[in-house]
Symmetry: C2
Subunit: 678 residues, 2 copies
């Protein structure tokens, strides 16, 4: 099928509009790319692009929009196989496509951490060579958050020197296990260990699930794919149910604990359980950073498309780009600012993580608690902001946002579970707030507290003994909204005090009124958010302050900082109204901050296209008609529609002919031809 | 593939838990069904179920989760064809499956409205008999909201007595047109009409697009499917591009205007353009009602699943149902309450619509403006609440919410565009608020204003001449939060004053400071929401008050009302903090309302399962493992997973063998067999 060649473009071409936006750039885009993405990310991007562009028939993703799940799975395998070949050829980045892969992401790291040397030889080495494909089998049909409730058992059988792995109930079936549905040969199974009738605890044990000869499930193993999902449909998440399967005792990972031939259980000495917390901090920090990249993708599409989409306007003028309407700016621009804040913050947070890791290696755990609390908060805040930010990006694209070709639908569906896994966001809030409440309590009662960004801010407002005057503490007193908005310090002071005040209110209820943590769970949400917002702004401002004062990047980055901070302060201003006594804000100040936000949004809107260009998300990754770098939105959209299977010449003709012969024709003409209905 | 028969259910079976919840019911479920759904809905449901259950192989939807788009299209056609056969057999409800169908929903109603008698014979009659299949072609690639900007032209050619229909630009291509992609033979095209070089305006004209003989596109017509979408993938939304296609002059719909043989244009006299507003009010009212049914589906799944899903708890006890956790209740129960409020409100609103329609038939347009404003507001509020409510339902289901078998994903995707079509929600706010601001202005200046629920409330607080004391106006003064929460009147007073106060603030900016409507668009959002929340509560309370005082339904309905109202008041309490002077609320009152909300939530939680049972959404419609009436959640989930195409015996074996031979095997063993990698 072809479109009429009579078509001429409309008055101002979308690509021209985008070029005009680019001319307004008042900063250097490569410098910004380096500042906000960092060298490592840029190198990774270039390597990935080289692979994709060298073999687009394998790695290009635009055809996935037309695929059934089976076809998506097959495409995923094709890419995986080719990547593994390329890996052994050139030792490129392990994860150039950021493809979800639990063999590399969970199975291998756990083996590295928990195998003894003999086990490394037996399991880790072949896994690294892809002679076995492993998966990490933890979640069960009945248990996700509460891993202590997992029901799969591994029972020591002394007679044969084996463990018997069993799924005693329907709900004990392992579920959601990545790479297990079709691919895996081996599973690292988290099981309740029983030795001589005694429950030892939850431990990882290796179970081979499919034959190395013909890949068929081994006896007693029920394994398969859990079926279609909202997203990730090229991945074979699987289920696994054991009917008393025996494995050698050797298969229990034994670096930290050991079961002897006679069933003696020994735990390795000098292992601080807090070490594993370090891994969790890293996983959450990586999610936080990744959500910045994901939101970058969403805002790139939304900003480019709303810049070129025109609707309404003055008579005899080209219609107005929708990004010029305040209601569109108000939704998109704060997300652009938060993308920068998230990515900027991540550099600082990763620096702190590395410091913590190095200290831990020296046996110093002093920074770990704060890192844990902050990483839970940031995982929670970035994933909520990222996922619902992408949803807002879709909504501002209007009707065309609903087409898969917008690039925002499969994408939204795939990032969605970030709000659930590695700690559901509503559950995680407590992890953060429990640290805040305990720290505040300790500071009030004079117990020793490790000082850091969080505890120093709490301590400042406890102010006992008094070291600061009220004017120093509540620096916003008597200042106009515009003075507040133009001062990073005042904005940070307000954000800091906000979380401290909210946390104080909860602390009182818990300490004095005995309110339970379950009953505190609703208040925990707001406090965790306020704390994360403070940390995000604090870390983002630190990252900005690494730049020389003369940097051309500073003015626009400061505006991005201000939009982010004001957006946090105004999003639920009830908190500002309820500040007590000396800290209180006036109605004029609070409402004034909203006016300031709109003002700063307009400043960022002017640079919006260059700002998303500097994020440098390649078209291959956007996979979007609406967000294309060249702005040829409608041409690309039509081109993709013509590739819809039912439209295609040949194969599409066959499908349409079938629909007509079997359904449409009989309706139009009656079952026996034209005469029947007339 | 089969599951091990060794499986035994876990300690408290999910179905048993659900039965125990049902025993707690303190009201009559059938009475509630009748009260909240109404007789017509119940009859429609029963008829639809009869059809589905008689021919499940055609109408049952559970297999759609495994389907490619082409397969979904084919299933849709099969259902459509069978439905049309059944329609002619038994005169059942036209739309028993609530299937989206623009032939019946838009093409035929427009013909009914705008054809003259001759045209009805030529177009409407064959359309009603399915001898032609029509579509309503309005939206273009470049224009959705701004229909005046549509670019398709229809030019009168006097020589041949024809119109030439043309798509002059790429962006003028019709896009998103339902039933056009594959099915339609005719299109009702909205085009810019030109007669003798003069632009007449936007008018509907019938163009045949496909041959009646072989269904091929006619010359000059480019038509096809626009490709895959986030949802609605069984529907063939299409594109349409004309290369100077000629149609007879007769094809211009001529009831309200006429182009003569010589190109004289005449408009019918005595046609009030406001009549068409009535149709828009009905469409929006129907969306508002439908969103209640959709949210009913979401909360049914969420309430049943969170009642039986257990996680954590006391030692040696069955784990705690997650709905017993405050943070889960806080997210689900207000949605359950809002479902009831939405459905209850819709009965009252439909009554008002019918009254308005009858008045219009008598030439009385006095109620139309308010109906328009309220219907825009309710379409906006119900669709935002419904769509994001369903998203919350998905999130509370945790990881399993991400499986298609939760029933919440295809479903969410399909209801999503309700926030965009028939007026984007962010654009619609202005329609409502413009009425509010103008009414307030008229009331202040003493112009004549039609009094109704909205304007009476505004007038009350203008209170000039003073008829009410401050104590009467600001009835919440001096009342405790618990007194407020237990009084429907006080809650309605607060909700009413909230929208009036917010509207007043904007009115001042517009009237005194000359703020433009574009710059008011952000404030319009909150005001439109506050107004709709007031109307929803007002109408819901009226529907409740139709019940006899002695009705067993009243106590729980009152609690649902209170949860709804408190949830509105506390969701952005900044508005309460900023009430001025005599109206002001204390911090204790405001924070107290949050405590009250949690208290009332617990009362509703107790009846949550009976309440969703009374909504009576059949399992066939839920299409969900998690939300099944019988509570056999995990059994059904596993059963569905085993039906995943790659798991199936035979066909699945073939797929897995191909994946293994082509991709997995070569990775494991190297391209030349086992030896290569060892």
């Amino acid at each position: 099928m072809k479109f009429s060649t009579q078509l001429v473009p409309s008055k101002v071409h979308t690509s021209e509009t985008l070029q005009n936006e680019r001319k307004k750039a008042n900063f250097n885009l490569s410098e910004m790319d380096l500042f906000i993405n960092g060298k490592e990310k840029i190198e990774g991007r270039e390597k990935a692009l080289k692979i994709i562009r060298a073999e687009p028939e394998i790695f290009e993703q635009s055809d996935t929009y037309y695929m059934s799940r089976t076809e998506k799975l097959e495409k995923g395998y094709k890419q995986e196989k080719r990547l593994i070949e390329l890996l052994s050829l050139s030792n490129i980045l392990v994860n150039p496509l950021e493809k979800f892969d639990l063999t590399r992401g969970m199975f291998i790291p756990t083996l590295e951490q928990q195998c003894n040397d003999e086990q490394k030889e037996a399991f880790l080495k072949p896994a690294l060579d892809y002679r076995i494909i492993g998966c990490y089998a933890q979640t069960e049909l009945g248990h996700g958050s509460n891993i202590r409730g997992l029901e799969t058992t591994a029972t020591f059988i002394e007679e044969t020197d084996e463990f018997e792995v069993d799924s005693p109930t329907l709900t004990s079936t392992k579920w959601w296990i990545g790479s297990l549905g079709i691919s895996a040969t081996h599973a690292l199974v988290m099981a309740q260990l029983y030795v001589k009738g005694k429950h030892i605890g939850l431990y990882p044990i290796i179970v081979q699930v499919r034959s190395m000869k013909d890949h068929k499930p081994l006896p007693g193993v029920n394994v398969g794919d859990i079926g279609p999902k909202m997203g990730y449909n090229s991945i074979d998440n699987g289920f696994l149910n054991f009917n008393k399967v025996r494995v050698p005792r050797f298969n229990l990972l034994q670096k930290y604990m050991h079961v002897s031939r006679t069933g003696e259980v020994t735990h390795m000495k000098n292992v601080d359980p807090r070490v594993t917390y370090g891994t969790m901090v890293l996983i959450r920090a990586n999610i936080a950073k990744n959500m910045g990249y994901q939101l970058a993708k969403g805002v790139t599409i939304a900003v480019r498309y709303t810049s070129v989409r025109r609707q309404f306007g003055e008579p005899n003028q080209p219609e107005t780009p929708v990004l010029d309407y305040p209601i569109v700016q108000y939704r998109v621009i704060p997300l652009l600012a938060k993308t920068y804040a998230m990515l900027g913050m991540a550099h600082e947070f990763m620096g702190q993580y590395e410091l913590t890791r190095d200290l831990i290696a020296k046996g110093d755990f002093s920074k770990l608690k704060e890192m844990h609390a902050v990483s839970c908060g940031l995982k929670r805040w970035t994933s909520t902001t990222g996922v619902y930010g992408v949803d807002t990006c879709r909504h501002v694209c209007g009707g065309h946002g609903f087409s898969l070709f917008s690039g925002l639908n499969d994408f939204f569906a795939t990032i969605y579970p970030n709000i659930i896994y590695e700690g559901d966001n509503f559950v995680l809030a407590k992890q953060t707030v429990s640290y805040l409440v305990k720290s505040a309590r300790a500071l009030v009662t004079g117990s020793s507290v490790e000082l850091n960004d969080t505890t120093s801010t709490i301590k400042k407002y406890i102010n006992k003994p008094a070291v600061l005057t009220e004017a120093e503490l509540f620096s916003w007193g008597g200042k106009s909204a515009s003075q507040i908005a133009s001062s990073d310090k005042l904005l940070l002071d307000l954000l800091g005090f906000k979380f401290v005040a909210m946390n104080h209110n909860l602390g009182v209820k818990i300490a004095r009124k005995g309110q339970s943590w379950d009953d505190s769970s609703i208040e925990c949400q707001g406090i965790a958010t306020a704390h994360s917002e403070y940390i995000v702004c604090l870390y983002f401002s630190r990252h900005i302050n690494k730049l020389p004062q003369s940097s051309s990047l500073r003015p626009i980055l400061n505006n991005l900082f201000t939009v982010t901070a004001l957006s946090f302060l105004t999003s639920n201003s009830a908190e500002l109204y309820s500040f007590n006594k000396a800290a209180s804000m006036t109605r004029d100040q609070i409402i004034g901050l909203e006016t300031e936000l709109v003002k700063y949004i307009k400043l960022v809107r002017d640079q919006a296209v260059p700002l998303v260009d500097a994020l440098n998300v390649p078209d291959e990754k956007l996979n979007s008609s609406l967000g294309r770098y060249d702005g040829n939105v409608y041409e690309d959209y039509v081109k993709r529609a013509l590739q819809e299977p039912v439209n295609r010449d040949g194969s599409g003709d066959v499908i349409r002919a079938r629909f007509y012969d079997k359904y449409i024709g009989p309706v139009l003409h009656g079952p026996n031809g034209t005469s029947a209905k007339l």
